[in-house]
């Protein structure tokens, strides 16, 4: 909402600078985006260089047919010689003159110049040069009573400071200059002028009822409909002062009729519409819902399909305006228009909003109506617009008016307890202060003991409850007076939950391992499933899809973390980041039959590409492989004292021989492994990538919980190494399980420290070397103890896996 200061000053006596006012507004709830300057620049006495001039003599330019050579009076008896390219004036006309040294609104600086051999000392300005319109056909001709030599700005207000305000949706009353004036008066104590809504006397014979029939079919969507007729108007450009105001408010001047409706809207906040009476069939108007399949071409030239949820203003045959949003091209005011039907109405806010969203069409009008306007403004807007049409368009107000208002507003009163003010704000606002603030905001109040009975003005429909009044009080009273305190009786404990702590441990374990955290968009391109080679019936193709994505690349929500991370890997590789090791703590989203919302699974996932340690002068980097990934997953589990086992994996996006499911308590909880070469290709990655993805719920649930102390210190352990030869297909995990079972209870540790395949063990065989640790918490083990356990282990290995001790 742009509010020119000069306009504002018509209604409220401000005695502070625009900057000070902006501060005061900001601290009382009206956000000021910025303070702009429109029109002529003010610096360095620039305004003195623009004056009202009078063409004393208009003659031919000696060297150019298309130019004229003029003598122009510029005040104090001074006459300047000016070369002009326009033709639309005659001797005696008054016009806007820019004297040498003047700077135009667009920043151009004018100097005395020689034009085709003749000196020109100044310029007669067009409206577009002065920033009053986007194009103009010649210089600006001012009325005959314009005083020659006066500064132009003293005659036309078009060098102005403009407050650009952001009005919160609860305050549609502030979407108007008068509304802001009222607010300014309340927060500064300045005097407020009455509303500029003086009416004008009707003239002539026939009344409006004889000339047009107006009805309201849907009183719910149209609580009030007011209309007047202005006959015999002359549609023409607006006077300069009006154009200047329209421009300063950020709108575009059209013609006097349209500019007046916009001016009234800007002044009072009530959007108006002007119909060309001659183009209304019937003539009759009816506020009704659109019929199925009805269409309208709006004044922006677009044909729009309507439906039964939309309110239209229809003439005898068709919709001729979308109520509160935009008029139809069919009844638009044109240069030939003579009789105008002026509409000021009140429309249902939520319905206007629904309609504008359905149509994708918003206007200055609809952005006001959508917030719910004060129906009491309707007659005021009609009065103000009628007067201006009579004064500026040579029109005549036809006697009578329509004002269809089935259920007039009832008075809204609120009971306000002083004690509630104190308990909510944490500070005592004195009763007298409360009453004074309410009164300045146009709320009437009278005291009833410790309470106030408060009557709400019609333009403050946002104030419905005690708490709304408290807000009004505190915003004027001043938040700076509220002391900072902390809640005094906190009786609950704060902090992270065990789950949240575990999540942090996971993140820290991963960073400790050298992996960087990424945060990727959760929406991705729908072809991710194909790129990951998911089967047609893979449930992970059942994605949550966006109805209105920004682009196809961000149109579905991921069911796997992998595609997001692979895209980040690709981006990093393209940026020549050599080693890309990233993880993310995120969610995947799965549709569930019969459920409205998605199943959101917290997941920790990562991609390793290149080397974890990086190359240095000390050693070459080691490329990551399946075992790097497994080591990382082991570190993650270890960070939460969890454990897992593995199972061979058939994920279509992984290397079938170098990948595994992560299994917790017999259930698959994720995967790890090398990414399938075809998948890498599909993501434009030309280096091997190891990926993992684990469900956090299962991971954290696998935790062993509180560690119970075990005495590892009192009695020494005995260590033994064995190497056994087994079939090449025998899994290391299987060997360790047999060893652990056979070695119990003395065997407390078994770890693989070497593997070998080759000539020494023969084809189809492999050797695995294990370091065994024997220990008892009760005593020091004897050689016999250890030898016995070792023999049992070897026997079991031989019996169950056909293993032989390697000689």
């Amino acid at each position: 909402m742009k509010v020119p200061i000069s306009w504002l000053k018509e209604y409220v006596a401000i005695d502070m600078s625009a900057a000070e006012l902006a501060d005061r507004l900001a601290l009382t709830g009206t956000e000021v985006e910025r303070v702009l300057h429109v029109g002529l620049p003010v610096d360095d006495g620039n305004l003195d260089r623009f004056v009202v001039g009078r063409v004393k003599k208009k003659g031919a330019h000696p060297n150019a047919d298309k130019l004229t050579l003029c003598e122009v009076e510029v005040g104090d008896g001074k006459v300047e010689q000016i070369v002009c390219g326009a033709k639309n004036f005659k001797e005696g006309d008054r016009t806007a003159v820019c004297l040498p040294g003047g700077t135009l609104p667009d920043g151009r600086k004018l100097e005395a110049a020689v034009i085709r051999g003749v000196e020109s000392r100044g310029m007669m300005c067009s409206e577009s040069e002065l920033g009053l319109s986007s194009e103009s056909a010649g210089i600006m001709i001012l009325p005959e009573d314009a005083p020659v030599g006066t500064r132009l700005v003293d005659y036309i207000p078009f060098s102005d400071e403009v407050l650009e305000l952001e009005i919160t949706p609860n305050r549609p009353d502030c979407l108007s200059v008068y509304g802001i004036a009222r607010e300014v008066a309340a927060i500064t104590g300045a005097a407020l002028a009455p509303e500029p809504t003086q009416d004008v006397e009707p003239r002539g014979g026939d009344s409006i009822e004889e000339l047009i029939t107006i009805t309201v079919d849907d009183g719910e969507l149209c609580p009030r409909y007011g209309a007047r007729l202005i006959a015999g108007v002359r549609v023409a450009p607006s006077p300069t002062w009006l154009k200047a105001r329209i421009v300063a408010a950020g709108m575009r001047p059209v013609n006097n009729v349209v500019d007046i409706t916009n001016y009234v809207m800007w002044t009072l906040g009530e959007p108006m519409h002007a119909f060309d009476l001659a183009k209304i069939a019937g003539p009759s108007l009816n506020a009704r819902r659109a019929g199925k399949g009805e269409k309208i071409t709006t004044i922006d030239g677009t044909e729009r399909k309507l439906d039964q949820n939309m309110l239209v203003i229809a003439d005898a045959t068709k919709p001729t305006a979308i109520a509160g949003i935009m008029g139809g091209a069919g009844s638009e005011v044109s240069d030939e228009t003579t009789d105008i039907l002026l509409e000021a109405a009140n429309f249902n806010g939520p319905n206007v909003m629904k309609t504008e969203m359905a149509l994708g069409l918003r206007s200055e009008s609809s952005t006001r109506f959508e917030k719910g306007l004060d129906a009491e403004v309707v007659p005021k807007a009609l009065a103000m617009a009628s007067r201006m049409m009579v004064e500026l368009c040579s029109g005549r107000l036809v006697p009578g008016e329509y004002d269809i208002y089935a259920e007039p507003r009832s008075e809204q009163a609120i009971h306000l307890r002083e004690e509630k003010v104190t308990s909510l704000l944490g500070i005592v606002v004195p009763g007298a202060e409360i009453e004074a603030i309410l009164s300045r905001l146009d709320f009437e109040s009278h005291r009833e003991g410790d309470s106030l009975h408060v009557t709400v003005p019609s333009f403050r429909a946002d104030v419905e409850r005690e708490v709304d009044l408290i807000e009004e009080i505190v915003r004027v009273f001043g938040y700076e007076l509220i002391p900072p305190t902390l809640p005094s009786d906190v009786r609950v404990m704060g902090g992270l939950s065990p789950y949240q702590s575990a999540e942090r441990k996971i993140a820290l374990a991963l960073t400790a391992a050298g992996i960087n955290e990424a945060i990727t968009y959760t929406f991705i391109a729908p072809d991710f499933a194909d790129r990951l080679r998911l089967a047609d019936d893979d449930s992970r193709r059942q994605v949550v899809k966006l109805a209105n994505p920004l682009s196809i690349d961000q149109s579905v929500i991921r069911t796997l973390m992998l595609p997001s991370l692979l895209m980040s890997v690709a981006t990093n590789l393209s940026m020549r980041n050599p080693d890309v090791n990233i993880f993310e703590l995120g969610r995947t989203y799965h549709t569930v039959a019969g459920e409205k919302l998605a199943d959101e699974r917290r997941t920790v996932a990562g991609c390793l590409c290149g080397s974890l340690r990086g190359e240095s002068w000390m050693h070459a980097g080691r490329e990551t492989d399946y075992f790097t990934g497994k080591g990382i997953v082991e570190a993650v589990f270890s960070s939460v004292k969890g454990s897992f086992s593995v199972e061979r994996c058939d994920e279509p996006f992984l290397h079938p021989g170098k990948s595994a499911y992560v299994v917790i308590d017999g259930k698959r909880a994720g995967y790890m492994g090398e990414v399938h070469p075809l998948v890498l290709e599909a993501f434009d990655i030309d280096k091997p990538v190891v990926a993992f993805e684990i469900l956090e719920d299962a991971l954290i649930a696998s935790s062993a919980g509180i560690v119970i102390f075990e005495d590892l210190l009192t009695f020494p352990a005995s260590f033994q190494d064995i190497a056994v030869v087994v079939d090449e297909q025998t899994a290391a995990e299987e060997i360790i399980r047999v060893v652990r079972e056979a070695g119990a209870p003395l065997l407390r540790g078994a770890r693989v420290f070497d593997t070998y395949t080759g000539d020494q063990v023969g084809e189809g065989k492999k050797s695995i070397a294990l370091g065994l640790e024997f220990r008892s918490p009760e005593r020091t083990l004897t050689d016999e103890d250890v030898d016995g356990a070792r023999a049992a282990i070897l026997a079991a290995l031989g019996e169950r896996l056909g293993a032989t001790l390697r000689g």
Partner: protein, 355 residues
């Protein structure tokens, strides 16, 4: 000091037996002359070994005349102890010199980089989130979370933003295809509702998470992070809100920050405010970051609207409280000086590893 000098007095004593003094002098000179550990060992064998003159003399005591026995025993053993000490001293001396020599020659280029131990970096958004979480944990707040694919009811209606409410149009909501009332949450506030539905006051919680709005440029990304705060109890006041926010701002932006509250509008709080903090870049004097105002807009807050309590069956006459919400990216940007929001989600490691 040489052994001969050191044991000068002993040598005088040794003169009381024929030959002992010269024997000692010879041995001491041999020890003094030993230049490395092998020479030391050779000197030990020569002068203290089984075949040394001194050992032979001591072994021959039983055969000596009775009056000589005590003299030889006393002075011979004295000489032996002294030579053993001299040998140990010399050995230590030589080792010292050797060590010094070794250390003097073992010099590395101390300016070469150290062995690269891998260290990953947490994303700066997460670092910022953790910092905020820890501050509020210290103030007694828990951390609550909720779904990102959310129903219209929790995202809007129960937050006092019914259908047709003008505040809805500013949210640029992503809707889920095929489900009219399902959307990607536009803020973390729906978690408030879910929390209050589930639990009775007192509630002190913050609610971090990803949120989504249909907007993309240097200052908007379609996904970003918010953190929401909620305190509901019997006597929570606007003054408590102000104090809590001030404490938080000082913890995160420095002890000399001041805040101010400006009235604002949110459907789910009443009264509603926006909070500014004095600019930490210029200290409040005015700079580009604060658009010369000296203040930076940080977050929105207010007292929970009684209508919201209505949706979760709380009695607004028995409990009241405040809520606040902020963009995590904004905090991170102000703290670390980034200007383009999109960098957070490019995940370029050159960016991530800075923090």
């Amino acid at each position: 000091m040489s052994a001969m000098k050191k044991y000068k007095d002993l040598v005088e004593e040794l003169r009381s037996y024929e030959g002992l003094a010269s024997m000692f002098a010879e041995a001491a000179a041999g020890i003094d002359a030993a230049g490395d550990s092998e020479a030391i060992e050779a000197a030990r064998v020569a002068h203290l070994g089984r075949k040394s003159k001194l050992s032979q003399l001591l072994r021959s005591i039983p055969e000596l005349p009775n009056e000589e026995k005590p003299v030889v025993g006393k002075y011979g053993n004295k000489a032996r102890a002294a030579l053993e000490q001299a040998l140990a001293d010399r050995k230590k001396e030589i080792e010292g010199v050797q060590l010094e020599h070794r250390l003097a020659t073992e010099q590395v280029d101390i300016t070469l980089p150290g062995e690269p131990f891998p260290r990953g970096h947490l994303h700066i958004i997460n670092q910022t989130l953790w910092e905020i979480e820890d501050i509020f944990a210290g103030l007694g707040y828990r951390i609550a979370e909720g779904p990102e694919v959310e129903s219209d009811y929790y995202n809007f209606t129960a937050l006092n933003t019914p259908e047709g409410h003008p505040a809805r149009s500013s949210h640029d909501t992503f809707f889920v295809d095929g489900k009219e009332d399902v959307l990607l949450r536009t803020h973390t506030s729906p978690v408030q509702i879910r929390l209050m539905e589930k639990e009775e006051p007192p509630i002190y919680a913050i609610m971090p998470g990803r949120v989504y709005r249909r907007d993309s440029d240097a200052t908007h990304t379609p996904m970003f992070h918010q953190i929401e705060g909620l305190a509901i109890d019997e006597h929570i006041t606007m003054a408590d809100l102000k104090g809590t926010l001030e404490t938080f701002m000082r913890a995160i932006f420095g002890a000399d920050r001041v805040i101010r509250l400006r009235p604002h509008f949110f459907p789910f709080t009443e009264p509603s405010v926006e909070m500014d903090v004095s600019c930490m870049i210029c200290g409040g004097a005015g700079c580009r970051s604060c658009k010369n105002s000296g203040w930076l807009e940080i977050l929105g807050a207010g007292m929970v609207d009684p209508n919201v309590f209505g949706f979760v069956d709380y009695d607004p006459d028995l409990v009241q409280g405040f809520a606040f919400g902020m963009g995590v990216e904004r905090i991170a940007m102000l703290k670390h000086g980034m200007t383009d929001l999109r960098m957070f989600y490019d995940n370029d490691l050159r960016f991530i590893k800075q923090f």
